[in-house]
């Protein structure tokens, strides 16, 4: 009975739909963990699940380059920095309730309203779609686009990353030692 039912589902619904549903539920459950967990370490690791699901969804959308960029920048970079910030700003004893929420009812109402508006507008608009082509590598096309029509954007993005790097170092460093050095120099 159960085997027949499983076989029925597998034959009537294509495999790609099951893969999509698995990836999408993984992503959304991770996002739910980020939004509703009271422990900020659990929130950070739920964010890992969301990013991993997004990697899968990008791969599903035939964008291999972006999937790898997402894996390297988000999972390898941003998540590690977030975990560092969590570890540096919370005491171990307080971690159980380290991520409290306020105005939960109002937040849930706003979220429900926003979700209703977005989903109804998605379903009510007549989207012009096309049949997707076969899966093919995208890295070469993206590289050509970066050095062709998007060259200015690419250069400005690099400059912005440099400025952000310098700004992060300047904001996060402690200035106490620098001032003491200056005073020592003045006395000497």
């Amino acid at each position: 009975m159960f085997l027949e039912l499983t076989e029925n589902i597998l034959t009537t619904v294509p495999l790609s739909f099951h893969i999509f549903m698995a990836l999408a539920s993984f992503t959304v459950l991770g996002a739910c963990g980020v939004a509703f967990s009271q422990n900020i370490v659990y929130s950070a690791f739920s964010l890992l699940a969301t990013f991993a699901g997004m990697v899968g969804l990008f791969g599903f959308l035939s964008n291999d380059f972006l999937a790898i960029v997402q894996l390297m920048v988000y999972v390898g970079g941003i998540l590690v920095v977030i975990l560092f910030a969590v570890m540096l700003t919370n005491k171990i004893s307080e971690v159980q309730s380290s991520n409290p929420s306020n105005n939960i009812i109002a937040g849930l109402c706003l979220m429900g309203l926003l979700l209703t508006v977005l989903v109804t507008s998605v379903f009510s608009y007549d989207w012009q779609t096309r049949e997707p082509g076969p899966y093919e590598p995208t890295a070469a096309k993206i590289g050509d686009a970066f050095l062709g029509p998007y060259l200015i954007n690419f250069e400005i993005a690099g400059l912005m990353l440099l400025v952000a790097l310098l700004a992060a170092v300047v904001v996060a460093r402690k200035e106490v030692k620098f001032i003491e050095d200056n005073e020592a120099q003045d006395k000497g």
Binding site: A35, G77, A85, N153, A167, V169
Partner: protein, 104 residues
């Protein structure tokens, strides 16, 4: 039951709504930054979904723009968490309800 544009738009809408809820309700500044990451991810997912399923002339544009989105997210995370660390050094807490020096 084939996967289409609408499925991805709904997933992105759910991600955006959850990120919005996180930004609105969290007291912990790091938690708020996590919500912003969710919102940026939802936007990137929409770009890629439209580049694959939408009737667009330039498919590459929808694949290039999320890279810029990820760049902005990386810069935002670096600067935002540096600000959070600076606030923690000055106040001893990153609770957004306690850091109200400008109000007094």
């Amino acid at each position: 039951m084939t996967v289409g544009l609408i499925h991805f738009l709904v997933v992105a809408a759910i991600l955006f709504a959850l990120g919005f809820y996180t930004v609105v309700t969290r007291k912990n500044a790091v938690g708020i930054l996590m919500g912003v990451e969710l919102i940026l991810n939802a936007a990137n997912l929409n770009f890629v979904a439209f580049s694959r399923y939408g009737a667009v002339a330039n498919v590459t544009a929808g694949q290039v723009f999320p890279v810029f989105g990820i760049m902005v997210a990386a810069a935002e995370a670096a600067v935002g968490l540096a600000i959070v660390l600076a606030i923690f050094q000055n106040w001893g807490s990153i609770d957004t309800e306690k850091t109200t020096a400008l109000r007094q």
